[in-house]
């Protein structure tokens, strides 16, 4: 027969312990759970986002009813245990249910402290611990009015921010001179106070509550200095007290908390206890990280492992108020035996302080930029000697030569239902489940079982990270080449995460994906700008400061700092009017050099930056627009004379080239895209060394792609044969759109094709008519925002600052 395990209290820690227990010893126990709260297991620490409206209760459920049913666990909701009989090994609930146990686990958590000032029992005096409290706050907030939060610690501040977000006028009363004084030093406490005040929350420090006033309901809070604060609700958030009554009455050893040993056993060896209700080596913990450690140990003990021990934890605090980054850990009081390293950036709202003793970090306070928190905490826990990196320590891990940040963090944080493989619609949860239930151990395994990463492969990096997440060190992923030193993520991962997390700005990417630098570098920023532009056409606001100068000012910078200007000549065709305009422009601006390019158009070289808008205005007047000779964009579509003139021409190659160029100009691509259309296989337009080329034949059009004639020389591959111009256009557009969606920044089409496979591309463009049509439509949609001549925009005054000096003292001198 199975042993009977009874669990009292079904909070966060009990839930975690059950997960571990079922994983290691699923058959050992018949489990019965009693919970005073009338609900399943939910994520208590996410109550603040529920209060502020960023999440709902459903979002924060950890185990729903089915979870218990599926595992044969009996859950008594709303049943408070009132007595334990150690001799007969039973527990009794308030409603008289009696359950016998072989092992008993007490996880009753703690209760909010209510200071017994007069009026503390009036309706409208609330605490902040469970969903009932949050619902009571909702109800009051719906009526508007004002709230007084007593207590400026973690919970009080989260409550205050939440109530403010719900529209109440909020005042925080704090007894001490600065907020969160147990976690923060004075300076950080002050920054925090300023931030709260800037959000319209009033903060009164050194405020001692005398009484809560009101006849039938809270009306005001009175302070010892006599001031009166009107209030519709008063939230007490002054601290917590471990729930020990049950244990004390049962005769277990209790101090402040229920006393447990390193194996989480109480003074009765068959009764174990974990969570906020316990006291271990004299410490009661109030944050989940150490409590989860206890959960692991108790589950191991219950599964028969006598070695598992809990040795105490160093905790770190983070405040969960959107937009406030705050981290603290360890001991940060001042003292003669310790030194500190300080970094302040008032403008950036950043404050970092490390407290060092005997060359080891003993405390950390971070405000504004908390990215290195986990690293500092790790150094603290390990007692690492920091003398070798002292000079750069405060700047964080990237400067200190430590091992890189955990690249998994971003993937670990994704919810289970986020889509990892866009091609096959596979979610993170599906992959995790397949790995666990079918013992998958490699990328290939996951591909064949779930189809994730089996198509375009751009999510392979993410799938590998999920493998690492579930298998730990047992899995060795192939190294992903990071975009640059600012991140450990590769191009494909970043593109995918932008899509699944709906990230829409460069700062948001850097925040969400934990960039290691404050504002990226010249390598990642242009890439991110393109990825956002490609992902959110029409929505993303192009960041010109993240573009290379050529794309910022729509001309090519030259070695002497002047620029070159290349107008479009559609399909290489021109006429007297255009040539005359070019000639006039050359004269008017004394353009030092004019050259016919290798791309069948004309380059005006050596133009001063200040003259660019005027040059463009003149060219525009003759109908000439930007040729994007400077851009990761569609460059030229070279053509030959075709059936119009050539005795061998089979189709109108010039016409098709012009049609393609007019359809596709203005689109941004991962790297430059060059095309050509030749009228017959003699191939005078050199179409077989282009990114995309067309060779006209009697029966129609052979479409080629993936050629190159620059750093590498490569003949093209054949994509397909089509019969009509319309079909040719659709194929080419779909191909380029696929490349726009999958190519890595600066990766030419031939490299993309080599990476993903010629056949994979053909499968999607040639074989799959529906996919081709969708790609075509997406390109057309994005073009509706892209086809506007950037030169004309600048002639009209756009980005004028680029073309004028800020001040001119040479002129001043000349005027003298």
């Amino acid at each position: 027969m199975k042993s009977r395990l009874v669990v009292v209290g079904n909070g966060m820690v009990a839930g975690r312990a059950l997960e571990h227990l079922l994983a290691t010893a699923p058959e050992t126990y018949q489990v019965t759970v009693f919970n005073a709260e009338p609900r399943v297991n939910y994520d208590r620490i996410m109550l603040s986002p529920v209060l502020s409206g960023e999440k709902t209760y459903d979002d924060i459920i950890i185990h729903d009813d089915n979870w218990y049913a599926d595992r044969g666990i009996k859950l008594h909701k709303g049943q408070k245990i009132v007595a334990i009989d150690k001799a007969f090994k039973t527990v009794t609930s308030a409603e008289g249910i009696i359950a016998a146990y072989d092992k008993l686990l007490i996880a009753t958590g703690s209760s909010p402290i209510v200071i017994p000032v007069p009026g503390h029992d009036l309706p409208g005096v609330l605490t902040y611990r469970d969903l009932d409290d949050v619902e009571a706050m909702f109800t009051s907030a719906a009526k508007g009015g004002s709230a007084v939060v007593i207590g400026g610690g973690l919970l009080g501040l989260e409550a205050a921010a939440g109530l403010r977000a719900r529209g109440m006028a909020v005042t925080v009363l704090h007894l001490m001179p600065t907020l969160m004084e147990r976690q923060l030093d004075t300076a950080a406490g002050f920054l925090l106070q300023r931030e709260f005040e800037s959000r319209g929350i009033k903060v009164l420090t050194q405020a001692d509550t005398k009484a809560i006033l009101g006849t039938t309901h809270v009306e005001a809070v009175e302070l010892k200095d006599g001031s009166l604060l009107p209030a519709n609700i008063a939230v007490m958030a002054v601290g917590i007290r471990p729930n020990v009554t049950l244990a004390r009455e049962a005769g277990l050893t209790v101090n402040r908390g229920i006393v447990v040993d390193d194996g989480m056993a109480t003074s009765d060896p068959d009764i174990l206890s974990i969570g906020e209700c316990v006291e271990h080596r004299g410490i009661c913990y109030g944050l989940v990280a150490p409590l989860y450690e206890m959960a692991r140990v108790v589950a191991a003990r219950l599964s028969g492992n006598r070695q598992a021990d809990y040795a105490g934890s160093v905790t770190a605090t983070k405040l969960k108020v959107t937009g406030i980054d705050l981290f603290s850990s360890g001991d940060f009081s001042e003292g003669d035996d310790r030194e500190e390293i300080l970094l302040r950036d008032a403008a950036g709202g950043i404050y970092k302080r490390l407290i060092i003793k005997n060359d080891q970090i003993i405390g950390t306070v971070l405000y504004g930029d908390t990215r290195d928190g986990t690293w500092f905490l790790d150094l603290l826990k390990r007692g690492t000697d920091i003398s070798g990196m002292r000079d750069t320590l405060i700047f964080g891990q990237q400067y200190a030569g430590g091992s890189p940040l955990d690249p998994m963090a971003a993937v670990a944080a994704l919810p289970d239902d986020s889509e990892i493989c866009g091609c096959n619609g596979v979610c993170k949860g599906t992959i995790l489940l397949a790995i666990a239930t079918q013992n998958l151990a490699s990328l290939g395994d996951v591909r064949s079982h779930t189809k994730a990463s089996a198509s375009c492969g751009s999510c392979s990096g993410l799938v590998e990270q999920i493998l690492t997440l579930s298998l730990g060190d047992a899995y060795k992923p192939a190294a992903v080449q990071p975009i640059c030193g600012c991140t450990d993520l590769g191009h494909d991962d970043v593109r995918r995460l932008i899509a699944v997390k709906h990230i829409k700005t460069i700062p948001a990417i850097m925040q969400e994906l934990e960039w290691k630098t404050s504002s990226g570098c010249a390598k990642c920023r242009p890439a991110l700008n393109f990825y956002l532009l490609a992902a959110w056409p029409g929505q993303y606001q192009d960041d010109s400061q993240s573009r290379f100068i050529n794309e910022r000012v729509h001309a090519n910078i030259q070695r002497d700092g002047t620029y070159s200007v290349v107008p479009r000549m559609w399909g290489g065709m021109t006429n007297a009017r255009e040539l005359r305009a070019i000639a006039d422009t050359v004269d008017k601006f004394s353009v030092p050099a004019v050259k016919v390019t290798g791309g069948q158009r004309i380059d005006l070289l050596g133009i001063r930056k200040e003259d660019l808008p005027a040059v463009w205005a003149d060219l525009n007047a003759a109908g000439l627009v930007s040729g994007h000779a400077y851009g990761k964009a569609l460059r030229t579509v070279k053509t030959c004379v075709g059936t119009d003139w050539c005795r061998f021409g089979t189709q109108d190659s010039t016409g098709l080239g012009i049609r393609i160029e007019k359809f596709m100009w203005g689109s941004w691509t991962p790297a430059k895209v060059k095309m050509a259309v030749s009228g017959c296989p003699r191939n005078c337009a050199e179409a077989t060394c282009k990114d995309v080329g067309v060779i006209c034949v009697d029966s129609g059009y052979d479409i080629h792609f993936a050629g190159a004639a620059g750093l590498d020389i490569r003949g093209t591959e054949i994509l397909c044969h089509v019969d009509t111009e319309d079909d040719a256009l659709e194929m080419i557009v779909a191909l380029v759109q696929l490349y726009r969606e999958q190519g890595r920044y600066l990766e030419r089409i031939y490299k993309w094709a080599k990476r993903t496979g010629i056949q994979t591309i053909k499968d999607q463009i040639v074989e799959d008519a529906e996919k081709r049509r969708m790609l075509f439509d997406r390109f057309v949609h994005s073009q509706s925002f892209a086809q506007s001549d950037p030169w004309a925009e600048r002639v009209a005054g756009n980005e004028a600052h680029e073309f004028h000096p800020m001040a001119d003292f040479v002129f001043g001198k000349a005027a003298q």
Partner: protein, 119 residues
């Protein structure tokens, strides 16, 4: 463009415009008898002034990409620290810096810089 009267040249600090004339993570130039000076504005709204000449081959630094407190030269990607003008990484070379400050939203450049001759 602010054309400055010659008398301004003698002042200790010269007002060259407002902070918002320079885009965040961008740069503007100031023309002086000694050559162009690049005025950079970083993400955190600090400003820096350097000769607009890369120590490598004289590339116009004002045309580069600003990231953190550094600028990547548009010609061959050298990275120059805005704080000390030094080339970063394996490259070596230094650009002269000028004093510059923000007061009440106005950008003030060291008066000596505006009349200096080429360094």
């Amino acid at each position: 463009m602010n054309a400055q009267p010659a008398t301004a040249l003698r002042a200790e600090w010269i007002d060259i415009g407002q902070l918002d004339d320079i885009p965040r993570q961008g740069a503007r130039t100031v023309k002086t008898p000694g050559g162009d000076i690049a005025i950079f504005r970083t993400m955190d709204d600090q400003i820096f002034a350097l000769w607009d000449r890369c120590p490598h081959k004289g590339g116009p630094l004002s045309q580069g990409i600003v990231h953190g407190h550094a600028i990547t030269c548009p010609l061959h990607n050298w990275v120059i620290s805005l704080e000390n003008g030094e080339a970063q990484g394996h490259d070596s070379g230094c650009v002269h810096r000028f004093r510059v400050k923000i007061e009440a939203g106005r950008v003030l450049l060291d008066g000596a810089a505006c009349s200096a001759n080429a360094a």
